[in-house]
């Protein structure tokens, strides 16, 4: 409790720094998720239609994820330096698999009878994708984005290890000074962000789900 009070005082004294760290954190998350969505949603549509593509991409993305994020950060350092780019690469690699796997699953799960009905009614392929398949797949795709978002929000704290900023700076600082209060200034907002992302995406997914009964 005492730590919480001290953490609040610490944050209040450095409002400018905290806001900047928060902005930096959100930017890292948004860019990683954005790239993840732009790459994996189209790719997931492709893999759902081709077994070879599915095996290739899903397995290689999963293999990438096995490498610890911290290791990727340090591997990227020689090429991109201690920059946001390095951090974004590591975070994007985390974001890819859940979005890809969920998009792939979402399109595979669509009842073939629905496609056959649409085709038999004379709907052009492009319109089947836009008006039928995509809306039906969307709730599951969003679940994937939700998983990715929570992971990326938590892992973006690692960016501070290579000096790329974000809320992680308070965690590294707290470690260095052996001060739990400073650590909490980073950890609490990260936890809150993760909860907000989880709940927000959850309700979005719920709203997009076609009614069952």
């Amino acid at each position: 409790m005492n730590d919480l009070v001290r953490a609040f005082a610490y944050a209040a004294a450095r409002q400018g720094e905290l806001v900047e760290a928060l902005q930096r954190h959100l930017l890292l998350v948004a860019v990683a998720l954005g790239i993840g969505i732009l790459v994996c949603v189209p790719l997931g549509i492709v893999t759902s239609r081709s077994r070879v593509a599915a095996v290739t991409f899903i397995n290689s993305f999963n293999a990438l994820r096995v490498i610890p994020s911290l290791a990727i950060l340090f591997l990227a350092l020689p090429y991109f330096g201690p920059s946001q780019t390095s951090a974004t690469i590591a975070l994007t690699i985390l974001a890819l698999p859940p979005i890809l796997i969920n998009t792939d699953t979402a399109f595979r799960k669509i009842d073939p009878a629905i496609r056959e009905a649409a085709l038999g009614m004379g709907m052009p392929q492009r319109e089947i994708l836009r008006r039928i398949e995509f809306p039906l797949a969307l709730p599951i795709i969003i679940t994937g984005i939700r998983t990715a978002a929570v992971e990326v929000i938590a892992s973006a704290t690692l960016a501070a290890f290579i000096g790329a900023g974000g809320l992680g700076i308070y965690i590294t600082r707290g470690f260095a000074l052996y001060d739990t209060a400073i650590l909490l200034v980073g950890a609490i907002p990260v936890a809150l962000l993760a909860i907000v992302a989880e709940l927000g995406m959850g309700s979005l997914q719920h709203a997009l789900q076609p009614p069952r009964s």
Partner: protein, 321 residues
């Protein structure tokens, strides 16, 4: 309504030992209800799906009225043909109204005209428009879903309607009422209908003309009465004749085929039939539940057991103990 003409149509699938459809020539008059009947693998569905070009014939030509179907753009052709499938295939994220509106929208109908058409069709299939317009498919029963499927197929007033075993995934009682409803609709709106089924009774009930298929060929193409009374060969005779036994069963009572239980006992939890039920009902219950035997009940007490063998024996005219 439009006529459909098949001219020497064949379809070979790669790797299949024989053609799925083999040199079929068939003339379906405008406004006729033609049922394609045959065992699974006889090519009936393949033949149907060549009309809306979900399959392309390997040989031969298909005409709707006097237009060779390949002369039209494939989406244009399909928008002019109603299509109803066994799995229904309503779009789960669209309301009943939106589902029905799909083809009219693609054909560029005005909003007012579409709205009026939706209400007209819902009234036609006896679902109150005010109540059902805004419902989602998951909020309907199976039978209601297939009626909406039918309304969707009729939405843009197509000349031809293709129906691929539309009622086979629906329970027996609803199926019977859907058949009656389809006949009533057909009297009202008069379409050229091609209807695929493997159910002989359904075929006999619905068809103006019956095309019996076997191994990709049409072995007989006649009105139902004609097929029953003058089957073209043994295959047709067996196909429609096997049904005679089933029809015969509905005239026989359970009590004549059961093995009596001395003394009487309480129910044992398995499926039960009444002593005076007909055997056809008992047989379908046995097949549906997969139970080895039915317990025959009378006045709350088990009075006998009924097995498949017992039913078979009764159908052949003697009771086997």
């Amino acid at each position: 309504m439009k006529a459909i003409r098949f001219e020497q149509v064949s379809k070979r699938f790669p790797g299949a030992p024989r053609p799925a459809v083999d040199g079929v020539s068939l003339h379906v008059e405008a406004g006729e209800f033609v049922v394609l009947l045959g065992p699974s693998g006889c090519g009936k569905t393949t033949l149907l799906k060549m009309v809306n070009r979900l399959y392309e014939p390997s040989e031969g030509r298909i005409f709707i009225d006097d237009t060779e179907i390949r002369q039209l753009k494939v989406t244009t052709l399909r928008q002019q043909i109603g299509y109803v499938i066994q799995q229904i295939g309503l779009f789960p994220h669209m309301t009943v109204a939106q589902n029905i509106a799909v083809v009219p929208r693609m054909r560029g109908w005005k909003r007012d005209r579409i709205a009026a058409r939706i209400d007209e069709l819902l009234t036609l299939i006896e679902l109150d428009p005010a109540e059902y317009r805004g419902r989602y498919p998951a909020q309907l029963s199976g039978g209601q879903q297939q009626r909406v499927g039918l309304a969707r197929a009729l939405a843009a007033d197509p000349g031809v309607v293709l129906m691929d075993e539309p009622f086979s995934a629906i329970d027996a009682i609803t199926r019977a009422s859907l058949r009656d409803e389809l006949l009533r609709l057909q009297r009202k709106v008069r379409k050229t209908i091609l209807f695929v089924t493997h159910d002989v009774e359904e075929a006999l009930r619905l068809a103006d003309k019956l095309a019996v298929l076997r191994a990709g060929r049409v072995v007989q193409y006649d009105p139902p009465f004609h097929v029953l009374t003058r089957p073209a060969d043994d295959f047709v005779r067996d196909l429609v004749g096997a049904q005679d036994m089933v029809r015969h069963l509905s005239l026989l009572r359970v009590e004549g085929a059961m093995i009596g239980l001395a003394g009487g006992a309480g129910p044992n939890g398995g499926p039960t039939v009444g002593r005076h039920d007909d055997l056809r009902h008992a047989l379908s219950l046995l097949l549906r539940t997969g139970a080895p035997a039915l317990t025959v009940m009378e006045g709350g007490l088990a009075v006998g057991r009924l097995t498949i063998a017992g039913i078979g024996g009764a159908a052949r005219g003697r009771v086997e103990a």
